[in-house]
């Protein structure tokens, strides 16, 4: 069961807290075990209609014609909604925080950009009747060349996926086509490293697969307002998104959320609420729009695919001296949250390690795949997968134990991080030590004694001179080993008795005493908070 290692950083923690560090029951547990927790769909409304959408069968096509005449005559159909019926049929989620341009329609009008994109919504008396009407909608497509690979999308002559971003990359600060991180001179350090290891990693999209699918029920209320029961993970965000798309003040809506049947990031995109509300506005009846399982899996937004190139320079003693990363986030056809994920990813480089020279370019790329969104570990999961694979390979290359190799390179309190913030409250070393202990993995004494609070700072706190010009390729040092990794043991011979690596210089001044109460070991991309 749960074990709290209170011996670690004990002096930084106040253990007289009433709740923290103690087991406590979830406030919603009784509802869960009795089945009385109320999810969005647990509402039975008089005269409720059902909304289903016609989805694109094409990954990329111009829409020549949409013919709904037969569908309109289909039994039980109350209303057919097309793109022109949507008051503001172009949005991007993060426009609420002024990030990105509106690029995605609620219902496609002239073009579809991914397979499964909604084109027409049908509101009918029953789901069956909605399905029957869907089968009667005719969409005339003119297929366009499609692109499904991030690097192909960036190559000259690639099809333009999303005209809002004609270069197939998200635009940061109106100018930049990627996120850039420069710290020290990675190229110079690579040129002098004992070994250089360059690898390519990629991750497929991952569907959140919540047990409850995405959905919403919207119903007309008194005073021209609408009650909306929703599965959203981000209620106020959804309210404002709906207000924008439907062009009404946000107090038009009374959103009721709360218990979400699993989200994991897949229920922030506000995909069902706007159409459900519009359906209720146009019919005057309660309307439910809930994804089927196949819709959820195929067209619900996943964690996007990523491709990552890492080039590391490592010394024979195990110190990583340079890390150069190029990463591509596959945003799919539109911007949901990958643009922001790329920012978080860049801020995360080079992982929880102190490396004096770091170089990162992170792109958010458009392809004709399902738009991608947030998922737990937002922006850093694939990168961490790549970095940790790379760490194992590097350890192998320099003949070091992979756990010890991580402890050696781990960031410590007082170190300068690549995005120019001092590392505080670091705990990687302790994590590795505990993991090794649990796995009965032998660590040598000096690694057992290592601490996140020792040996950091000093020369490790210095921001190195960083060239801003595009750096020229440098000749590699004579005798450098460039490795494309294979699983065989490294063949080069190295000094066999491994000296403990030279510790970084001790910090110039003693670390300030930690405050005596809890909640200090928290840092975020936006800086470190100390209470």
């Amino acid at each position: 069961m749960l074990e709290l290692r209170k011996d670690i950083f004990a002096d930084e923690r106040d253990d007289n807290l009433k709740e923290i560090g103690k087991g406590t029951q979830r406030q919603d547990m009784l509802g869960h075990v009795t089945g009385t927790s109320s999810y969005f769909n647990d509402h039975k409304l008089q005269g409720m209609l059902h909304l289903k959408v016609v989805r694109s069968t094409q990954a990329h096509a111009r829409i020549r014609r949409i013919d709904t005449t037969e569908a309109e005559r289909s039994a039980g159909v109350r209303r057919i909604i097309r793109g022109t019926d949507v008051p503001v049929n172009l949005n991007t989620l993060l426009s609420l925080i002024n990030f990105g341009k509106d690029d995605e329609p609620s219902l496609a009008v002239d073009k579809v950009r991914y397979k499964g994109e909604p084109i027409v919504a049908i509101v009918a008396d029953s789901e069956r009747e909605a399905f029957e009407a869907i089968a009667r909608v005719k969409v005339d497509y003119e297929p366009l060349p499609a692109v499904f690979d991030v690097e192909e999308a960036l190559s000259p002559g690639a099809p333009v996926v999303n005209e809002t971003y004609p270069k197939n990359t998200f635009t940061y600060h109106e100018v930049y086509d990627h996120q850039k991180l420069r710290f020290g001179d990675a190229d110079a350090a690579l040129a002098t490293a004992d070994h250089v290891l360059e690898q390519r990693y990629q991750m497929s999209p991952i569907e959140h697969a919540p047990t409850e699918t995405n959905g919403a029920i919207a119903a007309p209320d008194t005073n021209g307002r609408y009650v909306v029961y929703t599965s959203t993970q981000a209620l106020f965000f959804s309210v404002d998104t709906c207000a924008k798309i439907l062009d009404v003040p946000s107090n038009t809506f009374h959103f009721i959320g709360g218990t979400v049947g699993g989200g994991f990031g897949g229920k922030v995109d506000t995909l069902t609420e706007p159409l459900a509300i519009l359906g209720a506005m146009l019919t005057g009846r309660p309307v439910r729009y809930v994804f089927g399982r196949e819709e959820e899996m195929q067209f619900g937004p996943p964690r996007g695919a990523e491709r990552i190139y890492i080039k590391d320079g490592v010394m024979r003693d195990g110190r990583i001296v340079a890390r150069k990363i190029r990463a591509y986030f596959d945003s799919g056809a539109y911007t949901r949250l990958s643009s922001y994920a790329a920012v978080k990813c860049a801020a995360h480089l080079p992982g929880p390690y102190t490396i004096p020279n770091v170089y990162g370019d992170v792109y958010c790329v458009f392809t004709n795949r399902t738009p991608a969104t947030a998922m737990r570990g937002f922006g850093v999961t694939a990168m961490d997968f790549a970095i940790e694979c790379q760490m194992d390979k590097l350890a192998h290359l320099v003949n070091m134990d992979p756990m010890e190799f991580r402890i050696l390179n781990a960031y410590r309190d007082g170190d300068m991080k690549a995005h120019r913030r001092e590392a505080k409250n670091t705990a990687l070393i302790e994590c590795v030590q505990v993991a090794a202990e649990k796995a009965k993995w032998p660590l040598r004494e000096e690694y057992k004694r290592a601490s996140s609070r020792k040996d950091g700072g000093g020369s490790r706190a210095v921001i190195p001179p960083t060239p801003t010009d595009p750096s020229r390729a440098r000749p590699a040092a004579a005798g450098q080993q460039r490795t494309s990794y294979d699983r065989l043991p490294p063949t080069v011979t190295r000094e066999p008795p491994r000296e403990p690596p030279p510790p970084a210089p001790p910090p110039p001044s003693p670390r300030p005493a930690a405050p005596s109460h809890g909640a200090t070991r928290f840092s975020s991309v936006f800086g470190t908070r100390r209470r």
Partner: protein, 272 residues
């Protein structure tokens, strides 16, 4: 238009209703029919049911075993006399699917399903069907080959001869999720032994072609021989002959071809 449900007391009436309506679908346990309706399959507009007790009958007392088409896998598992069919029955779905899914429906289940049918194919089962014009028996191979055209016929029962010993009938299903999951590949082998030699071997494979098929080349490699390492190796290396697997979310065609021989070898050599 809502779906029309027609319920009949006898199998023959149900068969009549099925054969006269192309949009009609017979409802066995419903695990696939209801799924299609839930996902919006508008090609089904009539559901036909039969409450004929004959469809739920199990006759397992003698050497010839007969299972009504409406027998569920849970009932197969509850029947001690059907021990030879317990492995295939247990390999299907979770408990709820076994309580609902029927032997008859399994004959129509597309890949990655139809595991019980793999066993039935190896056992040289006879399928009793009722069309518009009365009932007849057909061999399971013939039945499967014409499966797409069987719409409109009602399966009444399946029957096969009980294998001579537990050794003589073997079954193996490879799934990615345990204890549940669609088939990556499924294998069944009936290996009657006469005078120390295999006589009349039948090997059936699931997920190796659009329907369950026999591995005839592997059967030939076994025929008339004793089940020793050489014979097993020969059969295993012939396992892919005549197969045409396809890609799906559970495995690629390439992967299926790679592993089928490995699993056939394990099945024949009695390895776990």
């Amino acid at each position: 238009m809502a779906v029309t449900v027609k319920t009949f007391a006898s199998a023959s009436e149900a068969a009549g209703a099925l054969s006269s309506d192309r949009s009609a679908r017979y409802l066995g346990g419903g695990t696939l029919v209801m799924r299609a309706l839930n996902e919006g399959d508008v090609s089904i507009s009539t559901v036909v049911r039969a409450q004929d007790q004959a469809l739920a009958r199990i006759d397992a007392s003698g050497p010839r075993v007969t299972l009504g088409a409406g027998v569920t896998f849970a009932r197969v598992l509850a029947e001690r006399d059907l021990a030879f069919l317990h492995a295939p029955a247990r390999s299907i779905g979770g408990p709820a699917v076994r309580n609902m899914g029927t032997v008859g429906g399994n004959l129509f289940a597309p890949n990655p399903y139809g595991d019980f049918t793999v066993a039935l194919l190896a056992l040289d089962t006879t399928v009793a069907v009722q069309g518009g014009f009365g009932s007849r028996d057909i061999g399971i191979e013939e039945f499967l080959q014409a499966r797409d055209r069987q719409a409109g016929t009602l399966v009444l029962s399946v029957s096969c001869t009980r294998p001579a010993s537990t050794e003589a009938f073997r079954y193996r299903k490879i799934a990615r999720i345990k204890p549940k999951g669609g088939s990556v590949v499924t294998l069944a082998a009936h290996l009657p032994i006469s005078g120390g030699r295999i006589a009349g071997a039948r090997i059936a494979l699931g997920s190796m072609a659009p329907t369950q098929i026999r591995a005839r080349a592997a059967e030939r490699a076994l025929e008339g021989r004793s089940l020793d390492a050489t014979t097993i190796a020969a059969a295993a290396s012939a396992a892919t002959e005549g197969t045409s697997p396809s890609d799906n979310a559970l495995g690629s065609a390439w992967y299926r071809r790679e592993i089928i021989g490995v699993h056939l070898r394990r099945l024949l050599s009695g390895q776990e």
